[in-house]
Amino acid sequence: MTPMPNEFHHRSRRGFLGLIGAGLVAAAGPAHALDTDGARALIETSLAEVHAVINSGRPPEQMYRAFEAVFARYADVEIIARSALGPAARQASAAAFAAYRQAFQGYIGRKYGKRFREFVGSRIEVTGAKPVKSFYAVTSIAYLRGRSPMEVEWHVSDKSGKSRYFNIIIEGVNMLASERAEIGAMLARRKGDLAALTADLQRAG
């Protein structure tokens, strides 16, 4: 399954156009409704930045912080953190939730950053985008060294006012569902104490 050279050319050109497209989406903001091209461009730009970090060869700690910054820029951290926390998010004070959200963002950067670091020498190709329910699903394939290719799906929405992704599904494994279970278990271990969970999250991942 070696792609033809012109296919490569086509892909890289589309990647370049996608970058410009994402810039336009970001500049236009909420006034410009999200569509399949916009969703696709967002993921391509985000992936380009992740790859730049992976291949930068920086020490792990710096890399995790860089991943966290990319995550904060392109993902809707607010809704992911809220959804992972579940019903407890509604009872939390604004300040307590904000502290939890910040800790959650760092935890995601470290936890998924460790996985991404194993992706050195890999490439991810965006293969399509389509509307699903009230959002967009962007499909991609990750080609990892010495492993079979993996399907990675991104869910993108502009419901927050900005175009952001809010879920990643790797070979059927749903990040939002996994984090709901994990954060739920961490909160249960602290008997529902959000401040204690926040402190744990600052070290976890």
């Binding site: 399954m1 809704i79 992911i80 809220r82 959804s83 936890k111 460790k114 996985r115 194993e118 699903v132 329910k133 009230s134 959002f135 010495g146 492993r147 079979s148 399907e151 869910h155 929405s157 419901k159 927050s160 809010f166 879920n167 599904i169 070979e171 059927g172 494994v173 749903n174 939002l176 569902a177 996994s178 279970a181 994990e182 278990a185 961490m186 249960a188 271990r189 976890a204």
Partner: protein, 227 residues
């Protein structure tokens, strides 16, 4: 035991009536991983040297012996194309690939591994997933997949073609390849098994989602904005 295997499970649902027993087995499996499998896997996949190439070769050998069984399952699922390709893959790797230690079928003949197991065949025949199970040594499964494993032992064509010692060598090779995989996926496995707040729940969720994806079932779509 298979009374719970009724179809009609909604996507994303987890059916785990044996959770207390499963959790005990999970604790055993986790301990086994920490003390035996993880150190073994780490030793086998250390770096890019001759050691890891040897592990890959043994893994290829073990995986090749599974091909005829795969071909049978593809046939039972009404998929003659993959059945023919799995057979061809077995023939190429057994001959050109020096008894299966090399994988020229995958690298030169565009014949990659196409997974098939009897649990999948049962799913194709319409049997429901049944309850979630964690099996000793093997790990996450379901009633349907556990039954599939038992049937597989019986219908594997290699049992007819090899004598008992040869067959056991094949089984050992597959175990080695599993330990090698544990080493290669060390970070991901550690994250689930040894760093999670509830490793049982994480392993159950991740395994079920992945397995359902393999079987071509669409997962649930979470829309957090609608909640």
């Amino acid at each position: 035991m298979l009374a719970g295997c009724a179809p009609g499970r909604g996507s994303g649902e987890i059916n785990d009536p044996f959770e207390p027993m499963n959790r005990k087995i999970h604790a055993f499996n986790r301990g086994l991983d920490a003390h035996v499998v993880r150190p073994l896997g780490a030793g086998m996949s250390g770096g890019e040297g001759a050691g890891s190439r040897a592990v890959a070769a043994v893994g290829n050998f073990g995986a090749n012996l599974a091909q005829p069984g795969r071909a049978v399952n593809h046939l039972l699922q009404g998929r003659p194309g993959p059945a023919a390709r799995s057979t061809l893959r077995f023939l190429v790797n057994t001959t050109v690939g020096l008894a299966g230690f090399l994988d020229p079928a995958g690298s030169d003949f565009a014949l990659p591994e196409e997974d098939a197991d009897f649990g999948r065949t049962l799913a194709a025949w319409g049997m429901g997933e049944g309850a979630y199970l964690e099996l000793p040594l093997i790990g996450p499964s379901t009633q349907r997949d556990a039954l599939g494993r038992v049937v597989e032992l019986i219908i594997d064509p290699m049992r007819g073609w090899l004598n008992r010692d040869q067959y056991l060598i094949g089984v050992a090779a597959r175990v080695v390849s599993k330990a090698g995989e544990r080493g290669r996926f060390a970070g991901s496995v550690d994250s689930i098994l040894h760093e999670s707040a509830d490793s049982y729940a994480q392993a159950r969720l991740i395994w079920l989602q992945h397995r359902r994806h393999e079987l071509g079932q669409e997962g649930e779509h979470i829309d957090p904005y609608a909640e």
